[in-house]
Homo-oligomer: 247 residues x 2
DNA sequence: TTAATACATTTGTATGTACATACTAAATAA
DNA sequence: TTATTTAGTATGTACATACAAATGTATTAA
């Protein structure tokens, strides 16, 4: 792995505990710290990173909360043994990320900037009022050979496009960098539906198939009006996986 | 509200930051701190609770992470405005809790202690090996009038029953109190399925309906062998809701 | 051999302190 | 009146320090 920042820059404006967290994430990801094996103890590690134990623990807490690390009093800290393929699923945009992780790329995408929702049927389908001014982005994911297994649409009422956006990147990244919109809290509803002709066509499956339907509401960091609506569909060959932890 | 512990006991063995967290949770729940209104600032609050600001912040961090509180530098800390019906959905057994919250009670329950799985078809259905020694608990939830909207089953290979268990309580509570098994990490898979005759009968719906299928794997706190398999089904009238937060 | 004890190691809890940074509102200057 | 500056307030970051509690290991005693 090249160009990896493997030290902590005390002159940087990025908080030390954030830098430490990111560094540890990289070390875990790059298998520097292997599953099940103990990390160096906190005192040693804090010396190595040239930060205080308190600051280091701030970073460690985060990673423990995110499920990457497991700590045990009197023993030590180790990388959580991954029983599933991904331990990142707690992350807010985990679903899309899992898609990437499983190697299901964006196969194609359609972009419609339509300030009045164009299609009544589609509007009903997504449970959005017809006169809502939206940016509509549809991305189709799937392996090259088979049918589409995934179909995602974003609607966002506040974005003015420049025409230079790269829609193959995650949407939240684009919103943040190009439009300074920081989406923070998301709520999602998951339900099961029967594929009608429209869905079946889009997903290249047959009418009557079981479809996992996922709708997501994203709130802006300033908690004000912004929101949106992400609708995701999935053929029944795919399973949505979540990991959670108690307390 | 009676018998509410509204102070922090420095002689208790329970860590102060945990006590502080629980106390704040109660204050939020009891509407002492109202949605959107600022809490007392950290210095003031730490004095009031007779703990250090650092310890208070430890508790606050947790509540922020859990989405109950929102902090803003230079402004203050406030109770997160709840756009959805429940802010507890991050909790590990959120699904069942949401059921309770929505007023969908346990209508009936069946208990089978069968150390060899009795039914081949059922075993296949739950994707459990036929010779697995399990405790099987089926709880049917639903409103009195309508059909069952929810159907949950637990399989647990390590429990020896006393015969005194109260199966209307949450399962994890029973496991913890009666059997000293502390379930910690859970992983769940959510998929959509078409109801076959067996499912349709159990859920009192028609064959061919879209069913949200949910399977859960629970790991023991000692991270060793324990696990099992929770299978949940749901008629399409119900929607599974999750809330998450970024960062 | 086995059980009990002591010790070292490691994470957990808790406090005090200091300064940085974001925000608000009041005071001041144009 | 309208910007600009300033002061005050609240959270954010960071460190040093001390002791508690759980665990594993080595030592000792039966």
């Amino acid at each position: 792995m090249h160009n990896m920042k493997l030290y902590i820059d005390h002159k940087s404006t990025v908080p030390l505990h954030i830098q430490a967290e990111e560094l540890l994430r990289k070390l875990i990801e790059s298998q520097e710290y292997v599953d099940g094996k103990l990390l160096p103890n906190e005192v040693e590690l804090s010396k190595k990173l040239a930060i205080s134990r308190t600051t280091l623990r701030q970073a460690l807490n985060k990673l423990v909360y995110d499920g990457l690390l497991t700590r045990k009093k009197g023993v030590g800290t180790k990388v959580t043994e991954s029983k599933s393929f991904s331990s990142k699923s707690k992350n807010w945009l985990s679903f899309s990320q899992e898609m990437e992780a499983r190697g299901i790329p964006i196969k194609n995408f359609e972009l419609h900037v339509s300030w009045v929702f164009p299609d009544e049927k589609l509007a009903n389908f997504f449970e959005i009022k017809r006169d809502t001014k939206v940016l509509k982005l549809i991305r189709l994911r799937g392996r090259q050979e088979g049918p589409f297994v995934y179909f995602e649409s974003y609607f966002h009422p506040r974005v003015e496009l420049t025409g230079e956006e790269d829609f193959k990147r995650p949407l939240y990244e684009m919103l943040e960098k190009e439009h300074n919109i920081i989406a923070m809290i998301s709520k999602e509803e998951i339900s099961a539906r029967i594929a009608d002709d429209f869905m079946a066509e889009k997903l290249e499956t047959e009418v009557g198939a079981a479809i996992l339907f996922r709708k997501r509401f994203v709130y802006d960091i300033n908690e004000k009006p912004i929101e949106y609506n992400l609708g995701n569909y999935k053929a029944d060959s795919f399973i949505y996986t979540v990991e959670s932890r108690r307390e």
